[in-house]
Symmetry: C2
Subunit: 204 residues, 2 copies
C-alpha cells in the first residue's frame, strides 16, 4: 500500500506569488493542485477546470447545500470554495494535495483536520515588493491595489494561524522550502509506524 | 541580534550510530554538541571539557542543588548530567545545541521545554543491521549484545515520545535528514516573528 499523501494548505495575501508557487509545485508528480470553484469571472488566460472551476452563483449555492465544499467564503463579492470531490481519493493514492485558499477557508480546514495537515503562509519579502508584483500582474485596478496594500498588514498577522512561514524572495527558494517542509513532515514519527514495525520484524 | 539556535535532542537504542551522527553534525559551525558532566574518572585519552566535564561528587551534588542540570542520573555508581550552563548562552548566540541523551533524560527535557525543542529518535534499518553494528563496535560482550537485541523492540517503541524518526540506513542520509529537519523547523511561524515585523515595516 502507498504511504498516504499529505494535505498542504497554502495561503497568503494577494501579490505574494502563491499561485505561481502552487503551479510549479504541481508540476512535480508527487503533488497535485486542488482546483477551487469560484463565481468570479475568469481573468484573461484562465482556463476552466485548470485555474478554477468557474460556476454560477446558483450552482455554487446548490453545492453548498450538498456539503460539497471543505470550506467556502465570500470574498470581494465572489464565492470561492474548496470542493471535497477527489481530495480524499488523491491523498489515499499517495499524492500530496495542495489547497491554495484564503485565510478564512484555511481556518475552517483547521477545524476539520486538526493537526493532520501542513499549513503554510507565504509572504512577500516587503510591502514594496508586494506592490510591485500587484502592478506587474496588471489584473487589479489601482483602487484594488491600494485596498490590498492597506489591508496587507492585518492579513500578514494571520500567519500566526499557520505552522510554517515561507518568505517568497524568489519563487525557486519558496518552492524548494515547501518541498523541504513536506519531506521533513514525512519524517514525523506519527507518519512512520511502518518503519517501527519493520524494525521489529512485524512487517517486511 | 542573531536568531536564537534550536535545542535538538537525539536518542536511540545502542548500535544505531547516533554518537557518530552527533559528532558529524557538530563539525558544522551551526551546531554544537552539549558536553555532559560526570563524576567518573577520565579514561585514557579523554579530555576535560571535550569528552566530559570531570567533576567531584561534592561539586556535582552542589550543582544538583542549584538546578544546574537539565537532567542527571546515577549509573554504575557515577553521576552523569546534562548541564544547563552554556546551553542557554549557546542557543542565544545562534548555535543549534545537540543533546545526545538517553530516553529517560529526554523525557525530563520534555517536561521542561514542552514543544520548544526538536526531538529526534534514530533507529537502525533492521534488527539484523543493529546486531552487525554492535558486533563491529567490538566493545560489548556477547551477553550484552544479546540483551541489547532482546530489549531493542521495547526501546524502539520509545520513538513515539519523539517528534521525528530518522532511519540510519547510511550516516550521510541520517545527517542530511537531521539538517533538513532543523532547517524546516526554522521555517515555523513561531520562530519568524521578525519576518512579519519586517514586512510591516516595523523593523529593518
Amino acid at each position: 500500500m502507498n504511504k498516504p499523501g499529505m494535505l498542504i494548505v497554502i495561503s497568503g495575501p494577494s501579490g505574494t506569488g502563491k499561485g505561481t508557487i502552487a503551479k510549479i509545485l504541481a508540476e512535480d508528480s508527487d503533488f497535485e493542485l486542488s482546483v477551487s470553484r469560484t463565481t468570479r469571472a475568469p481573468r484573461p488566460g484562465e482556463i476552466d477546470g485548470k485555474h478554477y472551476y468557474f460556476t454560477t452563483v446558483g450552482e455554487f449555492e446548490k453545492l453548498i447545500e450538498e456539503n460539497g465544499f471543505f470550506e467556502y467564503a465570500l470574498y470581494n463579492g465572489n464565492y470561492y470554495g474548496t470542493p471535497v470531490e477527489n481530495v480524499e481519493q488523491k491523498l489515499l493514492s499517495g499524492k500530496n494535495v495542495i489547497l491554495e485558499i484564503e485565510v478564512k477557508g484555511a481556518l475552517k480546514i483547521k477545524d476539520v483536520y486538526k493537526n493532520d495537515y501542513i499549513s503554510i503562509f507565504i509572504i512577500p519579502p516587503s510591502k514594496e515588493e508586494m506592490e510591485k508584483r500587484l502592478r506587474e500582474r496588471g489584473s487589479d485596478s489601482e483602487e484594488d491595489i491600494k485596498k490590498r496594500l492597506e489591508i496587507s498588514s492585518a492579513e500578514i498577522e494571520m500567519a500566526h494561524n499557520y505552522e510554517y512561514l515561507v518568505v517568497n524572495d524568489t519563487v525557486e527558494n519558496a518552492v524548494s522550502d515547501i518541498k523541504k517542509i513536506v519531506a521533513v513532515e514525512g519524517l514525523k514519527t506519527k507518519r512512520n509506524d511502518n518503519a517501527i514495525l519493520k524494525f521489529k520484524g512485524e512487517v517486511k
